[in-house]
Structures are given as C-alpha cells and as structure tokens.
Amino acid sequence: MYISYAEAIALALKEELRRDRNLTVIGEDIGRYGGVFKATRGLFEEFGEERIKDTPISETAILGIAVGCSMLGYRVVAEIMYIDFMTLGCDQIINQAAKMHYMSGGRLNVPVVFRTQGGAGIRNAAQHSQSLEAWYMHIPGLKVVMPSTPYDAKGLLKSAIRDENPVLFIEHKKLYNTKGEVPEDDYTIKIGSADIKRKGSDITLISNSYMVFNTLEAADKLNEVYGIDCEVIDLRSISPLDKESIVRSVIKNNRVAVIHEACLQGGIGGEIASIVQSEAFDYLDWPVLRIGGPFTPVPFCDELEDHFILNADTIVQKVADHFKLA
C-alpha cells in the first residue's frame, strides 16, 4: 500500500484495536473528528465511542487516566495534540508512568503509549512548534520513539502499544502527508533500532524525524557537489538509542555529524557526540559535528520560520565547512 504517514498511524491503531479488545484510545478531538492531523481517522466509526474516547482539554487528566487504566493491564494510547501541550500534564509521564515500575520494585508496570507530535513548519509560532524530545530522553523508565516514514510509523507504533513500558511516541506535523510503501500485514519494528536510510562510505550523518529528509537531500547534494558519499542514519528511537549502529557506522566512515531540528543547546546531538567520542574515539578522523536549530523560540513569520528550520543547503554548508570539503 502506498499511504501517508497519518494513514499509517491510523492503520496501526486500527489493527491493534482489532487485535487487543482491551485497548482504548483517548485524547482531544480524536473521535468523530478523526484528530486534528487525521491520524485517528476512521477509528470512531469502527470501534465506537467506548474505545475511541474524546476528552475535554485536560492534559493532566488525559495522561493520568491513561496511566491508571494501563496499570491494570488495559492498554491505552493517549494522544496529546501538540508536544508543547504535554508540559501541562508531564508530571504523569515523568513522575508517574516512567517511575512506577522502579518505585514499586517491579510489582507494577505501565504499558501505555503517549502519542503526540512536534516540530516546526506550519506557521504556528512558538507554542505549537517545538522539538522537545531531548527532555524526555533524560528520563529513565520512559522510551522515546520518533518515526520518520509511514513504514516506520506503523511498525513502531505497534511495538509501542505492545511494549510493557511507557512509550512516548513523537510524530512530526510536517510528515503527516508524506507517503510511502507500507505492507498490509502485521509487522513490528524493534524500539531502539536505528535505520540506515542511505548507505555511504565517507561521512556518517545521524538524524531523526522530519530532519532525516533534509539530511537525505543534503547527502545527495554533498555527493553532487563534493563527490562525498554520506551514510544517513535515522535514529527512529531516542531512548533507548541504538549505540551499536551509530558506533559501527563511525568506525567505518571515521567522520560523523548529528543533525536535528531541535535547538542545538541541550539537544540529542550532544549525547550522541559524547557516545561517539567515548566509544569510537580512536576511529575519528575529525571532531564530531553537531548541527541543530538556533537557540530561539520558533518564530511566526514565514520567512523567519523557514530561516529557523535547517534546510539541506545549510546542512551541506556546515558539513563542508567543518570537514573542509573542497
């Protein structure tokens, strides 16, 4: 099937709702309306309001109800419309769900999925456009997943739902209409496995979510302009991180750059650079390059927002400058 990212999400939910009769989906405008990004379209019609539950605008309650219900083994996928809104209820993610298994000495676990989306690019200004994944990768007990393609979205969402731990599933608003091939059959993708989206033997470019596509475009341009063959790794999961794939590629290529949409300061690039330097230092021919968003809120004005988001040309320029390509 050649379907969109949003359709892949809805398909994964639909298949899991059919498979697990105790699974429910809750969130704002996810019912008859089908979600503001249409990622729950068609679910209400098939499963009814008992299982596809519209909620008031009450992020703490949405997340807490999902935690409480999942604790009893009845899995819940809770949707928070924007990752920016998660700040309103993130006690339930950080202090409750993520710590429950540990604090209870293993007696309880919370098999819940918190679905949300982040990222800039639709002229929604500073409170609807953030990339906050780095906050959450800092929390032990929580898994953080960020698919970039329809194929990955379906397979990873199924894994997230079947996981025994809380999973934060971060989609990207600019990806919902992108299309790709998705098998009709039941498949899962292991959480914590990165994917090589482009093989290459000169420089390793590591990225996540929407920025994978700008990185792929940059890789093509680097090849055209400088004859450099880049490998592009899509992390897919932020926590756990697929250290093995990262290190393997660095050992092979000896040069590495990390590229993400989120602000450079405190972004996931620092963590990856540190892993590379501690586990593959002897294989590095060059310091690790980190490329990230500017340390500003996301602006409203279209031209300013475009300037905020890293594009392929900027990535090419930074890679060429850093590795002194000519």
Binding site: S58, G68, M71, L72, Q96, L108, N109, E164
Partner: protein, 325 residues
C-alpha cells in the same frame, strides 16, 4: 440510614482494632526514625485513623484504593502485610517495593492498594484511570481516591473530577481535610470554606463528614460506595479531621497554637470510638489490655522480621528501570 448500627459486634471491634493497629504502627515508625532506622521524610496519619478504617471497611477486597504520601493508614486498613510495610519503610529488600519506594511509594496491587504518591494531587487522575478501567472492563468495582486538603486546589483535582462526572466513573473522591498543607491552613488556600461545595461545580454529590467519628465516616462512605456501584457516577466526600503531628517528622508546627492542638486531641478518633463502644456495651474495659497486647505482638513480630531483612544489593540499583518485554 445508620449502617454502623447494623454492623455485627465483631465487625465493630475489628474496626477498633484496625484503628489501634494503625496508631501503634505509626508510633513504632516514629521511634524508628529517632533510632536512625528509618530515613527520609515520613508523614504520619495519627488522628485520621477513622477515615481509612471507616471507608475501607465498606469496600471489598477487589475494590481499588489510591493513596497519598500519608499512606500507612490506608495500607493497613486495606489489609497490607505489616512485615513488608516495615521492611519497605526501612529500605529493605523484602519490603513491598524491594526497598526502592519507601514510605512515600508503598503499594500492594494484590490487595487493590494501587499506589501512594510523592506528588500532591497526582494520584487523583491515576485513580480516575482506575475508575475508567473499572467502568470499561471490571464492572461492579469501585475506586476510592484518598487525598488531602492540599490537593484540592491542583489542576489534577479539577480536571479529574470533571471527567469522572462526565463519564460517570465509579470513583469516590475522599478529601481528608486535616486543615493544613504543610503550614498553610485551608482558610488561606481554598476559596470556599465548605469544601464539599466544590462538588457542585462538577455535577456530583458532595458530602461533609466528621472525619474523627468512625460511625459517621462509615455511614457516609457506605452511601457513597453504594451509589457509585449502582452506576450513579462519582462523588466527593470531605472528611474533616486534624493532623495531630506535623506534616512530616521534621515539622516544628510553629504555625499553629497549643490550644488548637489540645482542642483536637480531645476529639481523638480512637478515644471517641472507644467511649462509644463501651457505651454500647460492645467493648468492656477489661478487653482492652488483651487487644493491645495482641496488636503489640503483631507489630513486634513484623518489626523483628524487617530488622533482620537485608538492604538491597548495589546491583539492584539497575533492576526494574524497564520491564523486560
């Protein structure tokens, strides 16, 4: 209806014993803190025992409760194992949470005691989620969500009660109004003096009860639980009481007067209940030493067990961060 009156004699005595067990357990924990055997913050329930005992007496084993940082009373009333409680509070590996939770995170899913929380108000949405699970998958069960007066001004409280009422979830929200959130009195924290009026905003019944009177707590709880189990939706029950000790072990209580404390000590729930039982002829003076002796023995045995438990090994630091799939 006076449900208390209909209770069999043994049940009335059981409730007396439960309250005393909670008190003795906590007095023992208090001693352990001064002996350096319990570390960290401990929040005592002394003075509020009638609430845990009276409400939980109306529940079945399979019904759920959600507690707070002040949880010892709820645990004991729901039937927790004192050995594992002491062991956990002392940070031992045989405790309820293998020494990883402590007094603020005690729980026992086997008896429907689903959690204790270090974040004020955070248990309320989780309990609402338990109610959501019951209404979808475990019909006929009820959830009692305990919290203090400090929690009723959190967003979690407002959001949860609204949804619970909207979805008719089987949850009894029990506010133990002990008059203080650490040092801040309820008069300085809540915009209404009659806290049960908050229920009006969520379209659910609200009840005020004397939290130091076991019969009154029990009667109100019975009514709430019956209504919730009949599918009428949630209710809010305010139990007015007093925290006889400070917020935690470290609290000098400089924000309140000795006169106020003395006034409330005269309304001690155990003493009041004892007087009532004697008046009713249910309890005779000469039975009391026997009851006390039995409780003391149970507490001492449990404490002895806990003292002999090991602390977790260093490698346990890394256990149970994630559940292996």
């Amino acid at each position: 209806m006076d449900f208390f009156k209909t209770l069999p004699l043994e049940k009335k005595l059981d409730l007396y014993s439960t309250m005393k067990k909670i008190r003795l357990f906590e007095q023992t924990v208090f001693q352990l803190t001064s002996q350096g055997l319990v570390h960290g913050s401990v929040h005592f329930y002394i003075g509020q025992e009638a609430i845990a005992a009276g409400i939980i007496a109306c529940l079945k084993k399979e019904d759920y409760i959600m507690s707070t940082h002040r949880c010892h009373g709820h645990m004991i009333a729901k039937g927790a194992d004192l050995k594992k409680m002491f062991a956990e509070i002392m940070g031992r590996v045989d405790g309820y949470c293998r020494g990883k939770g402590g007094t603020m995170h005690l729980l026992d899913p086997d008896i429907g005691m689903m959690g204790t929380n270090g974040i004020v108000g955070a248990g309320i949405p989780i309990a609402t989620g338990l109610g959501y699970a019951c209404s979808n998958f475990e019909k006929g069960k009820a959830v009692v969500c305990f919290f203090g007066d400090g929690a009723i001004n959190t967003g979690a409280f407002h959001e949860s009660l609204n949804i619970a009422s909207l979805w008719k979830l089987p949850v009894i929200y029990v506010c133990e109004n002990n008059l203080y959130a650490i040092s801040t009195s309820i008069g300085k924290a809540a915009s209404v003096s009659d806290l049960s009026r908050r229920a009006v905003a969520y379209g659910m019944p609200g009840y005020n009860t004397d939290g130091n009177s076991l019969p009154q707590v029990l009667n109100t709880a019975r009514r709430c639980i019956d209504s919730v189990k009949a599918g009428s939706g949630p209710c809010l029950m305010i139990c007015n009481t007093y925290r006889q000790l400070g917020h935690s072990i470290h609290d000098p209580r400089s924000y309140r007067t000795k006169e106020e404390e003395d006034k409330w000590l005269k309304k001690d729930p155990i003493a009041r209940y004892e007087t009532l039982l004697k008046k009713e002829g249910v309890l005779k003076e000469n039975q009391i030493p026997k009851i006390d002796e039995k409780l003391k023995e149970e507490i001492n045995d449990a404490l002895e067990f806990a003292k002999n438990c090991k602390k977790p090994a260093q490698k346990d630091l890394f256990e149970d961060v994630y559940k292996l799939c």
